[in-house]
Symmetry: C2
Subunit: 346 residues, 2 copies
């Protein structure tokens, strides 16, 4: 099965509605700014790179819609871009992609082919991400040996990107190379990206996988049943601290305790060099019912704490796998050398 | 609200059906061996001490039922005891309680007041547990200071015992003493003993509590928001290794990394001095649907790993709080000194 997370064909943006997976496979067309923001906020599309791609297409669609209505003041475009960028606060790829689109808009505001240029840029962002995934896969697969058991958390796979994933790219690449591997999938409470998305896409690609509750990973590590941990990232500070799905930090501490390599896989668009350290990354808090809903205690006045992300300090990270190579023991200096100069400019 | 987890009135054993909490509060009478085994296996009653108490009453009820039918060969009683003891494999209090009942049976088999002696022993086991909880509360509360934030996992409270709990006994006692405390409650996947039971009983007793997903505890520790961790135990090996609800081991590792005290609270009936170390404790594996059910992926042929317990090595445990006192840095020697001689005899 060929999973196409995001398609843009005949000028129409379509996504898989990931909020319904795996019970229902449904493709949804997004035809307005509101559609796109709603899709991002309701987790119909999620995963830092995928959000960026959809937002880029969304920006183009929105400008096209507005232009059809009449003259378009720049203030209105900037305001729309802000709405898009603020749809979710943690993943920086969203801001990065929208700023890149806005920049193209500003430079070419009065050109007759503005819409074509915007469309081409969105397609380029999509295509670049696909290629980044491939390269992350190639670099990351070198770290994977035959017979390895690999733990992943949340979903940083095909469904989170425009390609074969970030954390799962090395997995798919190693599997294609014929390596005999097995993946432990954290269900990833509260939203279940592991149980609903990662397990689904791995098994659709025939990669052997076992589903566990998040709190079972530690015991497996104690029994030497996990050889490597790979997860994605929603934002990486300039010192290498990583914001990723809640639960990531705990896995990094457990990995250190057990001497297990702990890898982050992410495209360079995930780095935010304006931010010094992880504690400065804004963390999104999600509604209580994501936790209470399951237990049918929604109406019982529970006090709930539900951050969507946590911060993993750089010193717990063995390496960050990017499309430009593997950054071992990440710090400001080796991150800067790894990023191409244009990554700093929006 | 006075929560009575287990009652024995007018010769009738009744339990709260914990599988239905907190949505439905329902008391169920258990009138046969089958009732009792089913209640234990389906988690209508759970928590190591509570299982032991219910099994003791169950043994009495079963012998009474059999005696009413005619002569009762000892083989049949031993067989029934084995069925009870094997209802769940990890918690040793179950075996301990049934063996104690069986011993009374064997010693008094031919006495006219056998049934009275069995009934009295079951009531005594129940009463002793209640008193143990009180004493655990008193010893444990000394470790709790004003303004502490305490994390607990699973349910080791009123609903898990014949009294005010094991892990939660120090919490209730400190709260009664007027200490201003706040409890973080792990929801405890997959079965949700934290979300369904611990939060429910804490708030019914007015103790301030916040519900979190299990994977959120690490981030709270990183932010210095957790001052202490207290959990219960299902079995403690003679070297101090502890089997407890899956997820406990990971919390112990995280506690060590963050310099947070990690306490086990359990009655002496939880120690199994026949067992050398944690890895020798049998671990129960539960059905897949406990994990897959939530995500509505039951019918999707998921490969699932679902252990109900994990092992925390003694060297990660700051102390074990028992009814006989606090065992700091537990090891075989100080555990033996803490247990009264009669604890070794069944």
């Amino acid at each position: 099965m060929n999973i196409e997370t995001i398609t843009f064909e005949n000028n129409t943006l379509r996504i898989i509605n990931q909020a319904r997976l795996p019970g229902k496979y449904e493709r949804v067309a997004l035809t307005s700014l509101e559609d796109v923001i709603n899709a991002i906020q309701s987790l119909m599309v999620r995963g830092a790179p995928a959000i960026g791609i959809v937002a880029a297409y969304g920006f183009y669609i929105h400008v096209k819609n507005l232009k059809a209505e009449g003259p378009l003041p720049i203030d209105k475009v900037v305001h729309s871009a802000d709405l898009l960028k603020n749809a979710r606060p943690t993943a920086v790829n969203l801001q990065w992609a929208v700023d890149r689109m806005l920049n193209i808009y500003k430079i070419n505001e009065n050109k007759h082919n503005l819409l074509e240029l915007l469309k081409d840029t969105a397609i380029k962002i999509h295509q670049e991400d696909k290629e980044s995934c491939e390269r992350i896969g190639q670099y990351g697969a070198r770290l994977i040996s035959d017979s390895m058991h690999i733990l992943t958390h949340c979903n940083a796979g095909i469904l989170a990107t425009g390609g074969i994933g970030t954390a799962l790219a090395p997995v798919y690449t190693a599997y294609k190379e014929g390596k005999n591997i097995h993946i432990y999938v954290d269900e990833t409470r509260p939203v279940g990206q592991g149980a609903r998305l990662t397990y689904w896409e791995l098994t659709h690609n025939n990669v052997p996988a076992t589903l566990i509750a998040d709190n079972m990973a530690a015991g497996l590590m104690h029994m030497n049943k996990i050889d490597m941990i790979i997860v994605g990232a929603d934002r990486i500070a300039s010192n290498g601290d990583v914001a990723n799905k809640i639960g990531t930090y705990g896995l990094a501490v457990l990995a250190k305790h057990h001497g297990i390599p702990f890898y982050i896989a992410a495209p360079c668009s995930t780095f935010d060099m304006r931010i010094k350290r992880g504690d400065d990354i804004p963390i999104e808090y999600r509604p209580d019912h994501e936790i209470t809903g399951y237990w049918q205690i929604d109406n019982m006045n529970y006090h709930v704490y539900n951050p969507a992300f946590d911060i993993t300090p750089a010193d717990l990270i063995s390496a960050i796998i990017t499309e430009n190579g593997v950054i071992n023991k990440p710090n400001k200096k080796n991150i800067q050398s790894n990023l191409k100069p244009e990554e700093f400019v929006l």
